[in-house]
Symmetry: C2
Subunit: 548 residues, 2 copies
């Protein structure tokens, strides 16, 4: 079919005997064979690759705006992407730059990739959104390749795909096969959750992972930025929140400049940044800087000195939330904010006599879920007034809170049967939903657990076609109890890549053997690009990871 000489050489998985101690694990050892799709990941919707190949030279190959493109040299998003992908394909330090003027151009070379934004508004200076058009068409043929996309977002994905088609032939010459690719995502929402509260994540780590997300066509960074353990978000309106609630008020905070940089770095890669400010539970760190925000717990008739969830019975709580989320709505440009709402523990509320009195007045009886709903309802109204949509964890739906029709319900609980029932129930109520349950990547186990992530499908539940359409995608979550800058990146990649393909590629892309073959090469490509993506199994990459 096609020549992938270098990639073929790149990996050899030995069968051999299994060693020592894993007798009970390794049922069938994977054997690498070249996929007819080479190293493409996630697999595009339609791919035709011919046997004809062209060479590319670093000295003359160019990525250029097509003449008819609606995005020109002033579109720095694309110009940055051209440089990025040129460097990925050819390396930044160029060999043989000295001979570039002498070189006779070979007529069989591929001389350029033309990038053609076809719609009048390229969205170059905008932000990606849940409705962004991410489609593209890529035609590789001699003497030029053409990448057509209605918007810059599709062009970014197409550039990644083009770079994945380029390989080294047996002499190390960069080559690409003639190809026609027609591509678009199966789901609009393809996210990664990182948790910067249990452990602070240096900006450098976040940026490296945004870069890797782009290589995997993820388009949402769900930033679980604060939680019980620490409050690293430096709020302009309430600076005491991080002053008191961060692990350290200077070294372990995200300043407004940091946040802005993350958002712009993400935008340039077609990635949305959705912050999560989880309330009323998971807020211990908020209480350190904001007096009276949390509920005082009682031990008998006296305050115990400890605090529970946000205090839902004080007006000051809602004044605070209004100001706080007004700030959030201006700092984060995305149309959505994640409001959490999970795991509210009622013990403290129950112990507090003022809360008890309030429950009586409101005729809530003993049902503290009603109190929770009372709080959430008011919070949702506040956030709606800031012109934002919202995502919430499934409990808010489960507890019967009245929700706007465009609320996104984030499913994270239970076993397979339970989450499939939940997806059915949420969509039967007409809400859009996204799935995370099978993709808690913080849960680790011995062996190739990526296969489990790969097999889960967010539309596998009992429901009508209409219901299935309400599934907008999913997110891989890497909660932070056991993860920090020392181990985050290899723990996330390439395990999250399995989720990336599930959310991007067609539903029938399920061949685990072919996935293994492509993913093995994709992981070596990530390594070559400087990302410490861990191995799938015994193997090697031609250029191993150089850090440590």
């Amino acid at each position: 079919m096609l020549k992938f000489v270098s990639l073929l050489l790149a990996l050899s998985f030995c069968q051999g005997l299994q060693h020592n101690n894993i007798d009970d694990y390794v049922a069938a050892e994977p054997v690498f064979e070249a996929s007819k799709y080479g190293s493409l990941w996630p697999l595009p919707q339609k791919v035709q690759i011919s046997e004809v190949s062209f060479k590319l030279t670093s000295s003359s190959f160019r990525i250029v705006d097509a003449k008819a493109s609606s995005a020109g040299p002033s579109c720095s998003l694309l110009q940055s992407a051209y440089r990025r992908y040129y460097e990925y394909m050819f390396g930044s330090a160029k060999k043989q730059w000295w001979s570039k003027n002498n070189r006779r151009s070979d007529p069989s070379d591929l001389s350029e990739l033309q990038v053609w934004i076809t719609s009048p508004d390229s969205e170059c200076d905008g932000y990606p959104s849940v409705t962004s058009d991410e489609s593209y068409e890529l035609t590789v043929n001699q003497p030029v390749a053409v990448l057509k996309a209605p918007k810059v977002w599709g062009a970014l994905h197409g550039l990644e795909t083009f770079s994945q088609l380029v390989f080294e032939d047996e002499y190390g010459a960069k080559s690409v096969n003639a190809a026609i690719i027609n591509d678009f995502p199966r789901f609009q929402h393809r996210g990664i959750l990182l948790d910067s509260s249990r452990h602070f994540l240096p900006i450098k780590v976040i940026l490296a992972n945004l870069e890797t997300m782009a290589m995997n066509k993820f388009n949402v960074f769900h930033w679980h930025i604060v939680d019980d353990q620490s409050f690293p978000y430096l709020s302009r309106t309430f600076p005491q929140l991080s002053e008191q609630g961060a692990y350290h008020p200077y070294t372990h905070v995200y300043t407004p400049a940091d946040v802005k940089m993350v958002i712009e770095f993400a935008r340039l890669r077609g990635i949305r940044v959705i912050p999560e400010f989880d309330t009323p539970g998971h807020t211990q760190s908020w209480g350190k800087g904001q007096k009276d925000l949390l509920t005082p717990c009682y031990s008998g008739s006296k305050p115990s000195g400890s605090f529970g969830p946000v205090n839902p019975i004080l007006n000051t709580t809602y004044d605070f939330m209004a100001q706080f989320f007004t700030e959030i709505s201006t700092v984060f440009p995305d149309g959505y904010v994640h409001l959490g709402g999970d795991e509210v523990d009622f013990t403290c509320w129950k112990s507090n006599p003022d809360i008890q009195k309030f429950m009586e007045q409101q005729h809530f009886g003993d049902d503290y879920r009603k109190l929770e709903s009372f709080y959430i309802q008011k919070l949702l109204d506040i956030v709606t007034s800031t012109k934002k949509g919202y995502l919430i964890w499934q409990e808010v739906f489960d507890n019967g809170v009245k929700l706007k029709a465009d609320t996104l319900i984030h499913v994270w609980k239970g076993n397979q049967e339970q989450y499939q029932n939940e997806m059915a129930s949420v969509t039967a109520s007409g809400y859009q939903t996204l799935l995370s349950t099978p993709w808690y990547l913080n849960r680790i186990s011995y062996g190739q657990d990526w296969q489990g992530f790969y097999k889960a499908d967010p539309q596998d539940f009992k429901g009508t076609d209409e219901q299935k359409k309400l599934v907008i995608g999913g997110e891989a979550c890497l909660w932070g109890e056991y993860v920090d800058a020392t181990n985050l990146t290899p723990r996330l990649w390439p395990r999250a890549s399995a989720v990336a393909e599930r959310l991007w590629s067609a539903k029938d892309v399920t061949d685990i053997g072919d996935a293994f073959n492509r993913l093995s090469l994709h992981r070596c490509r990530m390594v070559e690009r400087g990302i410490p993506a861990e191995p799938l199994f015994s193997s090697y990459c031609p250029r191993e990871y150089k850090g440590v």
Copy 2:
């Protein structure tokens, strides 16, 4: 008891609510409290720390040879160690070097650490061995601290311990409490196994982990250098072994210079390098470069084209092994070599008519274990003739091979009951043994699995005191199927540190809470020294990992 202001501040473990999804896991969340032993790891045998503290200045503090020491300035092992520990304590780029001449020396400062090698032969230029004296005594008092050790090996450990006593007070000033420490290891053999066959490990990774081993007082690097998957050892005698059997003959091999560097780097840290050349199984990669070494498997009456274990019936096999292990005996200075001997699959031997004939001639009947023993016996004789002792995996003992009295049996199989029975049985036969079964660190699971490693004790089996004395230690093993340069270091540390304390400290050091408190600080110290040691739980380090 003592002041550990900076270390105290360094970590705050929040109780908070557990988040999302780990309800079933986190029974009791660990809460950090300062240990009275500060950040000492592994805990020395006898420790007295006073409340009195002294300051150390980077400009005037010195580590010097005591006048009466048998090791002077010509002992570069110690001089290198002084520089290393000075840099760990004060950083390499010095603040305030410009003021050093003006500074009045404070009489309450600790001005030097005197290192006193007390025995006539310091062993400075020798190699550590299983009988090396690793003991030391450390007295920290004003104006000088004294570190006494019979040999340089103890002095190295004492320097590490001294560096662990140094902390920053609330102003960031380096301080140390008066202390008396008397220390020696519980077990002589405290090892780490790394596997450079399933994945090639760049030299840089190996050196970084030797450095970290020294911080944890490990003293054996068990280098599982070749296996089925690849043969990266470049043999001078048989260069075709790596030429054909390595993943790549240039980029994925260990040259003689590499090996020499690893051995010297290890020696300077008191670490032995024991190579493992596992036969007759686990040898697929050997067969690529060495014709006729492996047994041809048969399918019916014809060779199938695949190969099994080393061919035990040919004289050429033993000629090869004699030459090969003669080379190994000169390249690796340690008194021991690990000969493997695990997991020999008899299927191929059974299929081969020549083997069948040989079995008849030798009157082995159908018992292929006898054939295995035949091979191993001859191999042991060969290795004995090179003046080396050997370690072997437990199967060789289990199969009844006749062994020299000083053979070390390496236990790795089974569940707790099984490995304890094995330890009992091996020691009842009078052999020395070391344990790895509970310390297969390649096996990962969610949560604080270090606690399980910490609780295992190699002397917990039914046996006499004499039998217990035959336990020389153990090894933490990190097999390489899922591990390479991208993820090895955070997967190994601080999980291996749990094993380090079990093998060094007294048997009754088992307080898991105190261990958590000290290990949390120890892991931040490794991070500060540039090692990406992963976190134990939600927390932070004052200076987070800077790589990615």
